[in-house]
Symmetry: C2
Subunit: 403 residues, 2 copies
């Protein structure tokens, strides 16, 4: 049994046996926090999922190698600079970030992973990180996750954290997740930065398998702007310090279920905080010939600029939804399609349901969160994708990002 | 020999043996022109290319059937209503539009094609069209193309027309093209509404072949917002009234070349008039392993919201360009990539060229038209796509479109 707690007071979020910190090192303007660290008091089993973009940040190349050991004791993360398209110097800088932390922590540098997020193509100011590292390690605290969550933000407006506890035969364990991301977010790829800590003892193999599965159900089902990042990273660490131990497949299911919930909750927080977003919308497709078909259509609709601007305009413009569905390269029969906004049927058999339905749908669109259900009436295929609306502020944020 | 003339005075554009008209029938608010007609004084050979969206306007279903005859004498076009997702009534309405015109013109209704553009999912007010048709036919004039071009506009801010003359053995012939489109525009599909008239005698087979080829080189290489329309239509009519006759393959090449130029010119006009657009940008990809790979990358970059908002912000943010290239699912080597803004090298071997290059690139981005060249240094594959920037006005236009 477990309950996902979205704690009112994020400052109290923790995970037994882990410490975290977030400080300002001068990478960002305005002395904002930009350097974070997660540390497990003992080496933890670990797994990672990384971007499938062909252009990848330097830290990804390093982490992919190190994660093969299935072990990790610390992750150091900077925002304000993606350390991507930075050549050999970028790789050296990522290694240096890890080495500096390892040295200060007194652990092997092979046990330190790295993550970076921010502007692509500018050299990482490693000297600032070098100067800041001793202070970063000193700042480590059990309740440091909130500072960490703030230190990894870029265009995010809120820190994103969630914690959940389960128990196995009366013994409690915790899963705590931290994520960042508000732009360059699109499904069918890894995710943005996300770090998950648990004090449960989980084998690296099962961690890897369950992380992959949970990522598919969460971060691969969100989109903000259809742009895949070069630096997407999810890392999970399990330090085994809880007294709870997994001894049966039902415990595996419990863990998987809790991890799914943690990542899905974080994924939704990312979309909700999408650049300029004012609405969180779930695009549900059912009745497709296959789940894959349903996912394709949900993804195309969720990424349609015309659909997303209509959401922003609170306009129940279902024509744009059906037009987007039509270009998903999936066989559909337009004359069979029903579309609902929450529980309001707006389209039946491909035809609009009239003024009253439109008025009721418009009310739904005024809500900060709602669901669009597209029923194809062809089969049992089902999928859903979370998206946000597309607002004037998205343009403002991204026209001005580097200036 | 031919020269593409972008006539200063569009009102003077014509095509021998063709008449056109554009009037207001009440489909649009504010008594704007919304009903157009092209009429050839004799039945013309004809070909058409239509949307590949699985959801298609009623007129597309009708036109696909009728164009099989290779003959057409008139095209009637309305804006303000897409007559799409309108069921059987929509098909009947499209047929009625054709029949009303045919009757008024005194020709067979099988020789009349139809096109509609505007909001999806609302019944076509056929009674307004019925009332307006006699006036529409009366308004036909040789110099009526300008009125036609205005009557088919939706969110377009300018009419789009181009005319060119060639000669074969001293005999002159004309190709005149009219297009509309400013939103729901994306490559790899047919196009928006476009009508091409020529007084050259061209067989339906060659018309079809050359239209397909020219469409691939023009409308399939533009994007505004990545959204494929349900109503995209290009129709070409050749009435053979010129004294010029094609007798050799070099004449075929001449015609193909002129048609390519006419459609490319119209396609660029569409992007330049893209909803909210302030810049016309050509994304050129060279050095790919194949033309297909180059096209994929050019399309992904041209459709990236992050790239397009950076253009709007006049920010030479090449990191977004390389990140978009990286998600094109095409093998690339980031360390070999060069990127130019016009003739300014901004990226060499995957690394930024520094402050001076950035300052010079920023100057290029301030221009209303410029080129981004991505050289992959892998092979001889080449392609280019025209796109526009993504501005605050795009959001405003599309959040408010139906209200």
């Amino acid at each position: 049994m477990s309950i996902l707690r979205e704690m009112d007071n994020m400052k109290k979020i923790l995970c037994p046996g882990f410490k975290a910190a977030g400080i300002a090192s001068g990478l960002k303007k305005n002395v904002e926090k930009d350097l974070g660290l997660i540390f497990s008091t003992v080496p933890a089993n670990a797994a990672g999922v990384f971007t499938r973009n062909r252009v990848q940040g330097a830290h990804i190349l390093l982490d992919r190698e190190r994660i093969k050991s299935g072990l990790c004791q610390a992750v150091v993360i900077n925002s304000g600079n993606a350390n991507c398209c930075t050549g050999k110097q970028g790789i050296n800088d990522a290694k240096n970030m890890a080495r500096l932390c390892a040295s200060e922590l007194g652990i092997s540098e092979e046990l330190v992973l790295v993550a970076s997020t921010g502007v692509i193509g500018e050299p990482l100011p490693i000297n600032k990180i070098e100067t800041a590292t001793p202070g970063l390690v000193k700042a480590l605290a059990s309740e440091g996750f909130y500072d960490l969550a703030r230190a990894i933000m870029t265009t995010d407006t809120v820190p994103k954290m969630v914690s959940t506890q389960g128990n196995i035969e009366g013994k409690t364990f915790t899963i705590t997740g931290i994520a960042k991301g508000a732009g360059m977010i699109c499904p069918s790829m890894a995710t943005m930065l996300c770090f998950v800590c648990t004090d449960l003892k989980v084998s690296p193999e099962f961690l890897h398998k369950s992380l992959n599965s949970a990522t598919k159900r969460s971060f691969n089902r969100i989109t903000i702007d259809g742009d895949m990042s070069t630096n997407d990273t999810v890392i999970i660490m399990a330090n085994g310090l809880s007294k709870a131990t997994m001894t049966s497949s039902s415990h595996n299911h419990l863990f998987q279920n809790m991890l799914d919930n943690v990542l899905t909750s974080l994924a939704k927080k990312i979309v909700k905080d999408g650049e300029g977003a004012t609405k969180l919308v779930e695009i549900v497709v059912k009745g497709a010939l296959s789940d894959t078909d349903a996912y394709k259509i949900a993804g195309i609709v969720a990424n349609s600029n015309l659909v997303k601007t209509a959401f922003f305009g609170e306009d129940a413009n279902w024509g744009r939804i059906i037009a987007a569905a039509g270009r998903a390269d999936v066989p559909i029969n337009p004359d069979k399609i029903d579309i609902f906004f929450d529980d309001i049927m707006m389209v039946k058999n491909g035809l609009g349901c009239g003024k009253a339905a439109e008025a009721a749908s418009t009310k739904v669109l005024k809500k900060p969160e709602f669901t669009v259900l597209i029923d194809l009436h062809q089969g049992k295929g089902f999928s859903s994708v979370f998206t946000c609306d597309f607002s004037i502020d998205y343009i403002k944020i991204n026209a001005d990002y580097r200036s």
